[in-house]
């Protein structure tokens, strides 16, 4: 286990095996998936027709479609972003900041009082 050894200071930096674009592509794809998840959740609250259309399993209800949207958008955008960014070295600090802010937005949009409030504001309910 890690504690069985004395700490070994990190040595001279070696080059990353891949450009930082590969890393950022993975981050942004995950973020897009989660934001799509949040938006689809609100859309299902706003529009009953949409809610019915994403009910892929009657037992699970609209949650089944929301999961498919999350996984689908995440895994679909990942190879696209990977292809676009794989040869680029991008500012890791900036893009990780974007990821963290986006993640915070996604979490807030998933908090029921927030997404129900947005849905009510849209429908005027």
């Amino acid at each position: 286990m890690d504690v069985a050894y004395e700490a070994e200071p990190v040595g001279e930096p070696v080059a990353l095996r891949f450009k930082t674009g590969v890393l950022v592509a993975a981050l942004l794809a995950a973020l897009i998936g989660l934001l799509v998840f949040a938006v689809v959740n609100i859309a299902a609250d706003v529009n009953s027709g949409f809610r019915t259309s994403i009910t892929l399993n009657s037992g699970i209800g609209p949650y089944s479609g929301k999961q498919v949207f999350l996984i689908g958008s995440w895994l679909l955008t990942w190879p696209i972003l990977h292809f676009l960014l794989r040869n680029r070295d991008v500012n890791l600090r900036r893009w990780f900041g974007v990821f963290l802010i986006g993640l915070l937005v996604a979490v807030l949009l998933m908090w029921p009082p927030v997404f129900e409030g947005i849905a009510n504001a849209i429908t005027g309910g």
Partner: protein, 200 residues
Amino acid sequence: MRIPLLSRIRKMEPSLATLLLVTVGAIAVVGLLMAITAPTGVLIGETQWRVISAFHGMGATAFLLSATIAVYLAWRLYAGEIRAFKDLKWLTAFAAVMSGVTIVFGTWIYIAYRAPGGPRTYFLGNMPEVHQIFFEFKEFIAMFTLPMFVTAAYILWKYDRSLLGHREARAVPSLLILLGYTFLLVAYVLGAAITKLAGV
């Protein structure tokens, strides 16, 4: 009188593989006997939903255990003092798999939760805020663990030890694991509390 066979066995050095085989075999036999004879229905319930619920809970617990060790190693990675980098890679990959397994069983058990007369009916009739706020948030936030751990595992395996010399690059998987662990804790605690109030 000397019995040659016993003498030979006594002189044999048992290999680790033999010991492992014997131990696993003994556990399997004892486990089988217990599974056949124990009144497990009393423990987990008689319906198929109780069994699926048990798998969901066990999956979540295995996920929690692996993620707890991973988050400690992720801190060591972040601080630039990790030695067990290989352990972190495997633990993060295992946690990502367990996240997927727990979500699958959680989605499956959700059918029983939503069924007429199920826990959702009970909560909406007696404690509507438990379903409308806590359960809904739990089912959503649990999904956040999968992209966190899958992305962290991907980065650790893809970049491997080349991450170690780059403070910003190694901070990314470290913080992803920490975030995933936070989402897991929220879902785990809410799940345990809701199950205590009304199980399937």
